[in-house]
């Protein structure tokens, strides 16, 4: 088990190279009762380059609740390492005070009561305030604003406009470059159409044309900031055509393609780059492994797995930054670059407390304008919850259980399967459930809720397959989603075992009987990656269920047992 002490030793070793590294902690602000915008944003001038990073916004433009995971297991070498640390252990590892604003922002501990104290987080009008202030204080010519992807998908309005609302917003924010993942679920034609109108590059050195194996996107862009040449390399989610429908992007092949990263770093250096930044959608464990194998990355801005860490994780000379999701955080990295090398840095994970940071009026107006045609529908109430509804975590969240209940009831199924996405916002007890909230949990371009029969053996094979995507001890074989959510069935899982032997004790909850590998079961689910899937969109299924059961109460899921 990894201890705080080990972590400090590793950091201290680094500090001798970089000078005092762990700056920009907000614990000082937390010690005071009230936090101010000044506490969150004021920074001493340091170095000559500032990187701002957001990632995995999932089209969340308004302030929201997003509960961080209470379970996020790491296997093999990364067991107990951040980000596989949650709850009280997270507070201890990073020396955070229970009940403080950062405890609320970064963990699930005492979530509901702290949410009431500290309010919603995020909102891209608040993010605009941060970006504008940094640019004004540091100077435009010293600042790079980078978007790690999963930006265009995840809301009702993004789905209605095929990502256009987010493209308009990211233009207004003055994005310098992005990489991508869920963006590709709008399909080849739409992605190409957007890329043509983008005022900044979509970088992805790991996507190739499937026919001729030629690069399909620009791999890197060299920016000059503060008199320093900075190469930003883009790395899209390597398993997009596996985790999402390949038929939507049939001519693009992805993959980690480590050797391309090596090649592009060399090419960028050849062009005079002094600082190498990898803007990645690999997921944190994949990025940590990549950083340990590929030389020369100064700053690795990690995305995909939605982890938020208050301090960088150092791998050799590479600084790994995890900036969270849903617009909850903006990362700020100040670099002092001299003689073609990074001599020191300051890092701050800026929490976007929406009641503390003033909304930028221009961005607020743009957001209102983009939402106006849909506002009435967005706010239409479908029900009310007296339980906390959330998704994020390795196994079933309460919002998933609600979706699974809807699938079982509305599609008359024995077993429900709901994908283990990491996006999806939270609702507090007492809140109304609106059309917008339901779409925040299931908005996508392949929402069909299928109904099918599967043998007990096939259900087990699917669970084993997804568990291996999550718990394979080699990060390069992980896909970065959480475990598929299951309704109507309980099971036991031992993440440390091998594929084929992690899942046991599959039980049909209705009867208490063991799942029979040879018997067929009626299974309902959604978000199949297969072309031609038929069924109503999942949000209609959830709405129909809420119409009959508008008062939602979901107990914490007890039917998945984690052992080992």
């Amino acid at each position: 088990m990894f201890s705080r002490r080990d972590f400090l030793t590793a950091s201290v070793a680094l500090a001798t190279i970089f000078g005092p590294g762990m700056h920009g902690r907000w614990s000082q602000a937390a010690a005071q009762q009230a936090i101010t915008e000044e506490d969150l944003l004021a920074a001493e001038d340091f170095g000559n380059v500032t990187l701002l990073h957001v990632t995995d916004i999932h089209a969340q433009v308004k302030p929201l609740y997003f509960r961080e995971p209470s379970i996020n297991l790491g296997v093999g070498e990364v067991e107990g390492l951040p980000p596989h640390v949650t709850g009280q252990d997270f507070l201890k590892m990073f020396n955070l005070k229970p009940g403080s604003p950062e405890a609320y922002a970064l963990t699930s501990v005492d979530y509901v009561s702290l949410a009431k104290t500290y309010g919603k987080m995020g909102g891209l009008d608040r993010v605009a305030t941060i970006v504008k202030r940094v640019r004004a204080e540091r100077g435009e010519d010293k600042t790079l604003f980078l978007d790690g992807g999963d930006t265009w998908q995840g809301s009702y309005t993004a789905n209605e406009t095929a990502g256009q609302d987010m493209v308009d917003i990211m233009h207004a924010l003055g994005t310098d470059a992005m990489t991508a993942h869920w963006e590709f679920t709008y399909g080849t034609d739409r992605v190409n159409e957007i890329v043509e109108q983008l005022q900044f590059p979509l970088l992805a050195g790991n996507i190739f044309d499937d026919e001729w194996m030629e690069p399909a996107f620009k791999a890197y862009e060299i920016f000059e900031r503060g008199g320093v040449k900075i190469a930003v390399l883009g790395q899209a989610f390597p398993y997009t055509p596996i985790a999402n429908p390949r038929w939507m992007i049939p001519n693009w092949s992805f993959g980690i393609r480590e050797e391309e990263v090596v090649k592009n770093i060399a090419a960028a250096k050849e062009e005079g780059a002094e600082v190498i930044v990898l803007l990645s959608h690999n997921g944190f464990d994949v990025d940590r492994k990549l950083a340990s194998r590929v030389e020369g990355i100064d700053v690795l801005l990690s995305g995909h797995t939605h982890d938020a860490l208050p301090e960088p994780v150092m791998v050799g000379k590479t600084m790994l930054i995890a900036s969270g999701s849903n617009g909850k955080f903006v990362s700020r990295v100040d670099l002092n670059v001299a003689d073609g090398a990074v001599k020191g840095y300051r890092y701050r994970l800026i929490p976007v407390f929406s009641d503390v940071i003033t909304p930028d009026p221009e961005m607020a107006a743009l957001i209102d304008k983009l939402r106006a045609p849909y506002e009435a529908e967005l706010q239409r109430e479908l029900g009310r919850t007296d339980s906390l509804l959330y998704r994020r975590g390795n196994f079933n969240g309460t919002f998933d259980d609600l979706i699974c209940q809807a699938l079982l009831a509305e599609r008359d199924a024995e077993i429900a399967l709901s994908p283990g996405f990491r996006w999806g916002t939270s609702l507090l007890p007492g809140q109304a459930i609106t059309v917008e909230d339901v779409h925040n949990a299931c908005s996508m371009t392949y929402p069909e809720a299928y109904r099918s029969t599967m043998s007990g053996q096939l259900v087990k094979d699917i669970l084993e397959d997804v568990a291996d995507n999550l718990f394979n001890p080699d990060p390069y074989y992980q896909q970065g989603g959480d475990m598929v959510r299951v309704g109507g069935m309980g099971y036991r899982i031992d993440p440390a075992k091998e594929i084929g032997s992690r899942i046991s004790d599959m039980t049909l909850l209705a009867s208490g009987e063991k799942i029979d590998p040879a018997r067929d079961y009626v299974v309902a689910g959604w978000a199949s990656v297969n072309e031609g899937t038929e069924g109503p969109p999942i949000w209609d299924v959830v709405e129909a269920h809420l119409q009959k059961n508008p008062n939602v109460h979901v107990e914490e899921n007890q039917s998945v047992q984690v052992v080992g």
Binding site: I242, A243, P419, D461, Y476, D520, G525, S528, N530, G532
Partner: protein
């Protein structure tokens, strides 16, 4: 009816698509035997040969792989042949590429079908009879739940 593992998650089309899938996995002995036939019983060294394959296949029916061998490719020192094996396929033999000094370099790209998660093995035989091996596991998933 042939059902691949990826298609098995069709989850949608027709119930008939979910017939039990019983892959005819190659036994280790078959792979060993082919390996021995190629190497003439020599145990392969590591290095020189490098195999590039995806960690997880995007499509198990057509997995792109590239194999290359470091060699001067001169009359006195060259790669004679490279063989590719897939140790989980019903028939582990995939392809054998033959080279000569005239080839200039010893590298080849092809696509192969993989019945399931398994090791892809590449072995190079040099003109002096020495053999080198590289191996990579390629995972073939049912797919579908990342993000």
């Amino acid at each position: 009816m042939q059902v691949t593992r990826r298609q098995a998650l069709g989850l949608s089309a027709g119930a008939a698509a979910f017939m039990a899938f019983a892959p005819a996995f190659a036994d280790e002995a078959a792979t060993e035997k082919m390996l021995k036939e190629f190497t003439g019983g020599k145990s392969p060294g590591s290095g020189k040969i490098s195999l590039k394959a995806p960690e997880i296949a995007e499509n198990g029916n057509t997995v792109p792989i590239t194999v290359s061998v470091e060699s001067d490719m001169t009359e006195s020192s060259y790669v004679e042949s490279v063989t590719l094996l897939a140790d989980g396929n019903p028939n582990p033999g995939v392809a054998t590429f033959h080279f000569s000094p005239m080839s200039g370099e010893a590298s080849a790209t092809t696509r192969m079908r993989l019945a399931g998660t398994q090791n892809v093995i590449a072995v190079a035989k040099m003109n002096d009879g020495s053999v080198f091996m590289d191996k990579k596991q390629v995972k073939v998933t049912i797919g579908g739940c990342g993000g």
